[in-house]
Amino acid sequence: MVSKDKNRRLLLQGNEAIVHGALAAGCRFYAGYPITPASEISELLSVKLPQVGGTFIQMEDEIASMGAVIGASLAGEKSMTATSGPGFSLIQENLGYACITEVPCVVVNVMRGGPSTGLPTNVSQGDVLMSRWGTHGDHPIIVLAVSSVNDCFSLTVRAFNLSEKYRVPVIILSDEVVAHTRECMTIPDQDKVRVVDRIQPNVPPEWYKPYADNNRGVPDMASFGEGYRHHVTGLIHDERGFPTQQPKEIDRFLHRLHDKITKGFPEIVLSKTIDMEDAEVCVIAYGSVSRSAMMAVKKAREHGIKAGLVQMITLFPFPRKVIDAALRQCKAAIIPELNMGQMSREINRVNQSGTAIIKMNRIDGQLITPDEILKKILSVS
């Protein structure tokens, strides 16, 4: 059943492609709780993980799922959970724990309409800022937005790689449209997939300091049960992993958490630009909406309008450079979103060139259509 998947053009849902991406990246542990519209990820992994020697478990809630994911990662397995809005609220507690203890893990949030139970079967992009700031305290995090079945595969692999390399939780923001759209893709050979593993210590155990800084800002990570007995705590800790209340140590620790991501910007921050070379009006979009935007931009070009698209792939850390460049170049930027303007607020924050920022918000559970965006482009041209 599985081997025929390789090298064959397959019709896959976004959720299924995430599963294939996770397995290709080396994910061998998954804990989750049933929730629409993310359940297909659990269902497929419950079949596939044991086939590759991995482990699937359905926990009692999303808090528990996230706890188990962190536990498994500490024991050395690449781990993941997938959920949607209400469950994403619950994972925030332990997501913060993963941030402070620098445990690699991947969290998929298939966005549906909110708040609360909201619109379980409809699309939304209402969790954008929550994915950045959902858990309490200042913390670094990486958020990637998928827009197609191919993305779901490749960005899941990338999410695991970034997570392992920077020892930080990575959130994959999907949405109901991407999750359930079926498209064809060919799953690449395993040796064509670039896989990054966490760096493990090579010093004798008695020399090992689990949170010591190095030139990467990312400490080597030992797994439980490999001879490197150490302490892991959600309290602010010193470089040996033990709780500290020394202002100097606290400051150094928290700065390192943030700096390791800053150092990685060039690798972490991804975006795609289309027809931006001579664009006078740009559309800045992400997730499923970027597909509507792409079509709108093409249609605008057919109308002779110099329109371009910036598709944000990494939402956080915020792709300041590319957005700044687009805003400086264009007289107007249209930001279509399936929320009340969460990303347009961020974009406005970096707008130093006085470019007109035009929000487009749709919150009725439906995807923005290309025609709606085209109309906006025509109105500002």
Binding site: G71, E77, Q190, G225, H231
Partner: protein
């Protein structure tokens, strides 16, 4: 015995790193720590293969001081992290240390589900009838009528019986001990850790600083001594009338059964699923690359 104690102190404590500890003088947590180390020592478990996870609270600081793979998690969630560790590396011996509020209030759902699942983990629950670290608020085991910083008029709710709860939820092994009966506690912990399946030991302990002081139960010595009177071995309790058992509780092994363990059952599923085709050839789990330094 003295020599043995010194061996255990040298071998298992992070004496060069994390002392003094945070506990108040006279706290029962120290007795539990000693008992746990004696049990692990008696079972001759390699330190590298032991994981001790805890939640949040006074009791949950315990793993900080002992030289194993230690994991101080979020409030109530110790068992969820422990479940992940155990499933990812079943060869590890996973023990959790929790308090009464930690395990049965905020972590109550995780507790009953870990028991239902019968995952091969030992849960040690230190029950001091209060939230000590946050200032003595009432917990799920605060007795009816007692005073706490959030029940100064007297507590109007009823207490959980942790060990009985664990039996009903499906744990394979459940025992109760007290910090007065230290050598009995050694045996209970030893049996629990050796047990295959989900094992629970509820340890009745004292918080003379919070619960004891507000309810005029005396200092540490008086409180711990009182367990001598109130704890009744299970066999003896069976012969006693309900009136005689008023304000008393049983100690000993409440339940010891054998049933399929989910970790092992899942292993069987893996073996069968792997046979479905050759997919695992390319996705084979990589052998861990860590070199051991054991010279």
């Amino acid at each position: 015995m003295v020599v043995e104690a010194e061996v255990i102190r040298q071998e298992y404590l992070r004496h060069d790193k994390k002392f003094p500890h945070v506990w108040c003088p006279g706290c029962g947590n120290g007795i539990v720590l000693g008992s746990l180390l004696r049990a692990i020592h008696a079972l001759e478990l390699p330190k590298d293969d032991v994981v001790v996870a805890s939640g949040i609270g006074c009791s949950s600081r315990l793993p900080t001081y002992i030289d194993f793979n230690t994991l101080h998690t979020t409030h109530g969630r110790a068992l969820t992290f422990a479940t992940g560790v155990k499933l990812a590396k079943p060869r590890l011996k996973v023990i959790t240390v929790m308090g009464d509020g930690d395990a049965t209030a905020i972590g109550g759902n995780h507790f009953i589900h870990a028991a239902r699942r019968n995952i091969n983990i030992t849960a040690i629950i230190i029950n001091n009838n209060t939230y000590g670290m946050t200032g003595g608020q009432y917990s799920p085991t605060t007795p009816y009528g007692d005073k706490s910083t959030t029940s100064l008029y007297g507590h109007v709710e009823h207490a959980f019986s942790i060990a009985e709860l664990a039996v009903t939820a499906g744990a394979s092994f459940v025992a109760r001990g007290t910090v007065y009966h230290a050598s009995h506690l050694d045996r209970m912990l030893e049996q629990a850790i050796a047990k295959r399946g989900f094992s629970v030991v509820e340890i009745v302990s004292n918080c003379h600083v919070q619960h004891g002081r507000r309810n005029k139960l005396g200092g540490a010595v008086k409180m711990i001594n009182s367990f001598k009177e109130s704890a009744v071995p299970i066999a003896k309790a069976k012969k006693m009338s309900p009136e005689d058992m008023q304000d008393k509780f049983t100690i000993g092994v409440l339940c010891d059964v054998d049933k399929p363990i989910s970790t092992e059952e899942y292993n069987r599923i893996k073996q069968e699923a792997c046979k479905i085709d050759d997919y695992e050839e390319t996705h084979k789990r990589k052998e861990t690359k860590v070199k051991r330094h054991e010279e």
